[in-house]
Symmetry: C2
Subunit: 82 residues, 2 copies
Amino acid sequence: MARFLDVREGFAGATAQQFADVHDADLAIEADEGVHCEKAWLDAEAGKVFCLSTGPSKEAVMRIHERTGHPVIEIYEIDKEL
Amino acid sequence: MARFLDVREGFAGATAQQFADVHDADLAIEADEGVHCEKAWLDAEAGKVFCLSTGPSKEAVMRIHERTGHPVIEIYEIDKEL
């Protein structure tokens, strides 16, 4: 399993509830791809959501987010965490 | 205190040791600005380092990273974490 950090757009002015709904939607289907979204962060001013996940590949993570309606615009594979 | 996620460049091919040295340099001086770098992630292929921190302002976090030689290229204030 690898670890990823991804970025999604389109969350300008999103409320905590809207953000939670998006994250819950990811959690509900992530097992289909062997993915787990560990943490998510919202910057409502920049309109971005960041997700730290584990999974078999970038593509698997991207498919989960695509299915829940918020395609990934950037994704990074983490080599090392401190 | 607010929470931030920042992005730095220039780490293409960085080793785990080089990454640790940069993070340790931040930790050594972060108290000067009331900042704490909680987590850091390296993507050596993309050449980027991501840092999750707490602090009084974006500018405080940016000053720490500037002083340790790796200026921030993007910084986001976190409204909500899940």
